[in-house]
Point group: D2
Amino acid sequence: MNVGELSAAFTAVPTHKSVKKIQFANQEDKQEFSKFPTKTGRRSLSRSISQSSTDSYSSAASYTDSSDDETSPREKSQVNSKGSSDFCVKNIKQAEFGRREIEIAEQDMSALISLRKRAQGEKPLAGAKVAGCTHITAQTAVLIETLVALGAQCRWTACNIYSTQNEVAAALAESGVSVFAWKGESEDDFWWCIDRCVNMDGWQANMILDDGGDLTHWVYKKYPSVFKKVRGIVEESVTGVHRLYQLSKAGKLCVPAMNVNDSVTKQKFDNLYCCRESILDGLKRTTDVMFGGKQVVVCGYGEVGKGCCSALKALGAIVCVTEIDPICALQACMDGFRVVKLNEVVRQMDMVITCTGNKNVVTREHLDRMKNGCIVCNMGHSNTEIDVASLRTPELTWERVRSQVDHVIWPDGKRVILLAEGRLLNLSCSTVPSFVLSITATTQALALIELYNAPEGRYKQDVYLLPKKMDEYVASLHLPNFDAHLTELSDEQAKYMGLNKNGPFKPNYYRY
Amino acid sequence: MNVGELSAAFTAVPTHKSVKKIQFANQEDKQEFSKFPTKTGRRSLSRSISQSSTDSYSSAASYTDSSDDETSPREKSQVNSKGSSDFCVKNIKQAEFGRREIEIAEQDMSALISLRKRAQGEKPLAGAKVAGCTHITAQTAVLIETLVALGAQCRWTACNIYSTQNEVAAALAESGVSVFAWKGESEDDFWWCIDRCVNMDGWQANMILDDGGDLTHWVYKKYPSVFKKVRGIVEESVTGVHRLYQLSKAGKLCVPAMNVNDSVTKQKFDNLYCCRESILDGLKRTTDVMFGGKQVVVCGYGEVGKGCCSALKALGAIVCVTEIDPICALQACMDGFRVVKLNEVVRQMDMVITCTGNKNVVTREHLDRMKNGCIVCNMGHSNTEIDVASLRTPELTWERVRSQVDHVIWPDGKRVILLAEGRLLNLSCSTVPSFVLSITATTQALALIELYNAPEGRYKQDVYLLPKKMDEYVASLHLPNFDAHLTELSDEQAKYMGLNKNGPFKPNYYRY
Amino acid sequence: MNVGELSAAFTAVPTHKSVKKIQFANQEDKQEFSKFPTKTGRRSLSRSISQSSTDSYSSAASYTDSSDDETSPREKSQVNSKGSSDFCVKNIKQAEFGRREIEIAEQDMSALISLRKRAQGEKPLAGAKVAGCTHITAQTAVLIETLVALGAQCRWTACNIYSTQNEVAAALAESGVSVFAWKGESEDDFWWCIDRCVNMDGWQANMILDDGGDLTHWVYKKYPSVFKKVRGIVEESVTGVHRLYQLSKAGKLCVPAMNVNDSVTKQKFDNLYCCRESILDGLKRTTDVMFGGKQVVVCGYGEVGKGCCSALKALGAIVCVTEIDPICALQACMDGFRVVKLNEVVRQMDMVITCTGNKNVVTREHLDRMKNGCIVCNMGHSNTEIDVASLRTPELTWERVRSQVDHVIWPDGKRVILLAEGRLLNLSCSTVPSFVLSITATTQALALIELYNAPEGRYKQDVYLLPKKMDEYVASLHLPNFDAHLTELSDEQAKYMGLNKNGPFKPNYYRY
Amino acid sequence: MNVGELSAAFTAVPTHKSVKKIQFANQEDKQEFSKFPTKTGRRSLSRSISQSSTDSYSSAASYTDSSDDETSPREKSQVNSKGSSDFCVKNIKQAEFGRREIEIAEQDMSALISLRKRAQGEKPLAGAKVAGCTHITAQTAVLIETLVALGAQCRWTACNIYSTQNEVAAALAESGVSVFAWKGESEDDFWWCIDRCVNMDGWQANMILDDGGDLTHWVYKKYPSVFKKVRGIVEESVTGVHRLYQLSKAGKLCVPAMNVNDSVTKQKFDNLYCCRESILDGLKRTTDVMFGGKQVVVCGYGEVGKGCCSALKALGAIVCVTEIDPICALQACMDGFRVVKLNEVVRQMDMVITCTGNKNVVTREHLDRMKNGCIVCNMGHSNTEIDVASLRTPELTWERVRSQVDHVIWPDGKRVILLAEGRLLNLSCSTVPSFVLSITATTQALALIELYNAPEGRYKQDVYLLPKKMDEYVASLHLPNFDAHLTELSDEQAKYMGLNKNGPFKPNYYRY
């Protein structure tokens, strides 16, 4: 299908006044864009806060109550204070509130602010036209405004239909970013917004920043000629990365892409450090459970499992672990956790937590054997770890006792406490600290700069990991938050170690 | 003042139909009962969830929305399904919802359930007429219904005007307990309810269970002849205990009283173990702060401070401590915390947490020197530790960013994040686990049984600590929650140690 | 028996030249002083390094090899550089080496040095004649020389026949202290030394500093007229304290005595903090065992057990606990340890550690069920916790594989690794840090000062605990070691708390 | 140089009766084999217990006293009970004692025993002729005898002139292994033994197992024709691996080689887990220091530094960290350690510990600023981290106070306590647990099996890492030590994850 065909086939409405349904040329197209089919392959937590673009998303609630206004933003005519109407948000009047949210977020994201300063003279993104698709939150706003400060022109849309903070979107629109997003989009809205983001007369994206791959896919499919001229794609989600590797394998990736998801700092913060805190937070907010003395089994001892185990043990829980990988199992032993099979211990457990990335780790059989009051939840990547479907049977009663908390009641009165219906606990029931988001956002910004400025030939039409030196740079930008003082190698020492004084400091295979 | 005088002086309206103001005989009386004057002397956390009976209380929110009904309960005529109207609650129709809450709480309070079973044959409280004044929550309902199961007749009222769970009160009323309490009582309502609780024809309390001392004080003042015939008082709050010791010192305590507040198990759970968890919970719910790498100073290294420090350190915070007591300071050193003066470190800190029980520990001078974004909160006993009043000056701007979270903004833009306006963080912004409440409730029940059944002369007109053996019994009732198996002494071992096989196992001065 | 009788009955040889056996007046006397009969009642660890005066003692080895000289010190004629021969040590020529040891110890005992300075002007012990009986080590030498610096005249003897560091004794003798002690005394030597310490023409002890009660007992029995004139006794061991309480009960204690053993700081350091480190040290030095992943059961969760559990857990061991006391059991649960019965788990354990103070906690039956390679040791107070005697049966083979390490081999080849033959691991196989000894020594010095200077009537003929304020002072003298900065109460705060600004800061029942 | 030349050039004496010096053909040869020149490049800890083959080695002391016999083993005529004299050890009569040591070691090395059993039917090493050069200890004996059990013929020699346990060597000789090693070899003895190991009529090595590369180098240089026919080399030390990579780079490596040093399990156990324990052990054994409250700076936050920090923090030390790598620095922050420059904190520190692998990390300037009593030691890879040479100046006095402990005394009396003269603390002053050695030994055995049985072409003439699946297998063989139960993937789960049910379970870049 060429461009001409596409523009004929696909008549997304170009103005926000007359709202029409996105129209697909044929049934296959529609199917492709309506099922989010490739979003299930994530192997680890991504900042992509919910697994699918249409998953519900509870933590970043909108701050002001917008429920009074039921008009679709697509039907509204709004203009910002500079006279522009090239955006579509819930209510441009919420801009001031949103601006304050952004300012507060800036305080925890000083790495980006410092990046703005360090790179400002040179404007390393001058000329860059960035089409972005991420969650629209105060934290991503800090990222977007950093890109603008570095010279980029940005058009932006949301990667999730629930996660947009309307006030923040308004503030971005007010400040001149063409943003198309609101909380509670329909699926049609979702694609309409993506299209508005890239389909603009006189403006053609030369960089893509994506979270989940939807924007990339849309451009690839609908605007192939634009796609070919893009200088680089930065993708941060497991799903999006997976899609890119598939394209690459199939020989269809004609653009260099940067896999931000697998950079060291992002992985450690998203998984180990972030989960260490959010497991406690998620359990407390939902159940008020006391951790001391509780018997807990954690399924999976990867980074997420390690974080969960460490926190729970520190607060007095008695934790054991299941593993399939003998190396991780041995680590669990050395870290002081008994390694067991789930069915050996499930009867005694007060909590069962999954962190495997696998499916049906907790089966109906396990659930049948749990004791009264056992809490079951998932910290892994998808909602498949606990076989929740198996609990939808007539003999079991479901009782919703709080938001995100169901009591599933057996005929004999036994209750199992299921959190977030088996979806990700840390995303449904706790929050992601700004600091973690700052690490990701800084990585994204650096990846954009690198791809945009790289000399011809440095990057081929393939998927790349961020160079270790830039990973180290991201880390160094965050050290001031902790008042951490780095030691510098002397010339003599650098020579002795065979290292450049400015890094990189470790071989690629280093495990940290 | 004799009873006759009292009944003349005090004409609390005996029915719930015609609502009149509580009338005080004279101005002094009114003052005495309207200012809660003695409630400021607490030296440690009490389960008494808020310091004063009229403090706001946020954690145990009412589950169903009752805001639609603005009629005062005192003006309503309600009857339970057995035809009784000897109660006054918000809405008797909420009983079913409340019953479920009680049932859920029972699952975490198996010690009380087991006490019911163990003591049921003998009905050790047969004949006991208990007037109770506590928070009215699902957990206290489990206590009240345990007392009833053990033979007591109970009349109950709330010790705090905000903390009542209306549905639970309804469930108690439905089950036959004469309960007088609702969320949002006025001060007048408060005393009216207390009076209704004890002023009942044909029923005269012979036991008092109190939390804060208000009920005790009311009976002592208004019904002295009833007071003299009471067999025992069980008091669980610091404030109430303080009042009792004062009465005792003054030679006016004509009844034996049991100080439940200072029992070992209650202290350890209310302070060390409970705060270890709630400091994290309270901070997360209010600020979503990441703990890893944060520099924190904890003022005070008593049990509360120890709990806070242990949890924060475990999650990667860098914690230092201030102390006035060299012994506690030495403990802090050995536990791995630098001991500093607040003004030496306050500039570098990300969080300042007070746990001293003292006043003006954090002064305006300290606050002026804090860095931007510093979080300040109080885990100690009163709202005096942080000099919040000093922040109410014109040059500082207060911005309420969430419930319980204020940004105080200096002229140069620096923000200090003040939580709960300096009140107790763990009570304002987190919850108390049922397990902790179970320990207190079981202690209360045992204290009642002990005082009610003690042979003449075992207890004089004084304030007693629970006998160590009963403290041990409370603990033993909670061990099954952890599937803990106690070892029994052999005869030979008991003889060798000079101990009774059933305890007590430690001398009174043992420090645990 | 009066003094006259005694001096007739007891003809201890007054000079060190002609060595004769101590002669007892009759058989009972001999029995009394030869069996150390009361030394078995200790309930907790004491600094008194080994349980009985004649227990072997391995950690404080003599630094120089004195084995070449087999002459008994009692037969030698030695003179120090000042011409005095009023001492009896192994070899006065080792004084210089010993002096260096003392100087090194002083570096870790700065509290005593600082006490010397603070109290020097006033010489609070001027006129005090102290008869002392303690281990003779570099650390006690620092104590003795502190007492001298404060004005006391000291005569000293060893409380254990193996623990004397000969070089240190020589250094003390050289500096003018009349010391009677060497490593490897016979029992007869032991009493001879004690007698030489107190039986001196023209010098009569008015203060006693004792560790174990042997000196006290000797004076009480042999020199009752001296005993009556003593102003005070300071006793630091459990055994000695026990003896004093017995005397007091029997109405025979005619002197005020200070129980130094039960002071807060001493208890916490001797038990919790010291054992936290020595359990690891003792196990490593004897067995080189790796802690990570090891299954360990700790019997007893008092201070010693808490210390052991905390350290082992921190290094990756999987620890469970046995307890008889439900309160301690509940603490174990909340601290994250399963509470079990020994026979439920003994088959799976890699290590079994006793810390109960009880007897036969580990029985032959338990030992029979242990797995191959299980390590068994004792951190409690006596050698009775493990029923070692039950292993002395023909079918079991004992193999000594290292000092303090026996393999006990079952007929099927199973080996159980028994450490220190069931005696105290931390004293047999690890060392006590100078810092811990400094706390004890400072407490002893302060207790002496207090008793010696107390106004008439402050102390009766009874056994006292150190006043809390002095406990706090001991702690404060040790804070500079950690560069710890104490906060001082403002007048306003002191008033608010009802405290004196200089302490004491806590009520007597405070649990720390 | 061909074999003929070699045998002419190199006339090592083939029998143990007439001892002659190893004769080198020319000066270069001699130089090459006498300086161990390449042994300085290690970047991480290796099991190779000391850095150079001639470093002293203290931990694995010989068990029986052999000092009475001063005759060189090369001059003795010894025969084992089967009549063989093809070995050279200190004293064949010590075999029985050595056998017991081996049996005891077997108990901690059950993975090897289990490998013997699993592979015994097939005898995967049937036909293998293994020339080995490792430390000769009870643990390596278990490895050697495992290789024999699997079908190999072994000849063995020591990789270090001090580390041989004579009794174990005797036991190996008695059991039929041709072993050439004793404690206290001269350098000439060292090479003589290596030559005897490989230079044997009628036996030609087809596999090499080396630790340090000396044997490999000898064969490569002296017996090139043998070298060419070797099927594979297994090398476990950093030094040896470095030499192999150099050979490979130079195109001179004509044999596939396996780098066992960098396998995951070995690295984690040698560095993180082993150092976590040995830092405490090494410090205690040398200084008896108390950890609680001590201020410690750890230079370097790699695996070794992480292990040290974790253990010290757990025991109450206050730890800060220096780093050059911002990623590791950020990890330190998140783990709760302040990141500082050494000169900012060195004045306050009680201990300074280096773990960087770099040189002159602690300089004379730092040492000058340390406070009295500061302990300085090295846990990194070489003796270069602390600039010990700078302390060898006239104004400083060195005092050896214990084995491995020097006090360096400044003119003003300040003492710095230097451990092991800056060499590796964990190797000089503590021991390596058998379990850690078992992991390495098992890895070596599997590498031998893999190389020996690999089909033609699987391995080229290069240096390989152990396949991840074999790493996983090593781990799985050690799980039974911890009674750990691995979970198996269901078919459905394996398919979902895209994994083989038997592993490998992780991508190669996985960081663990």
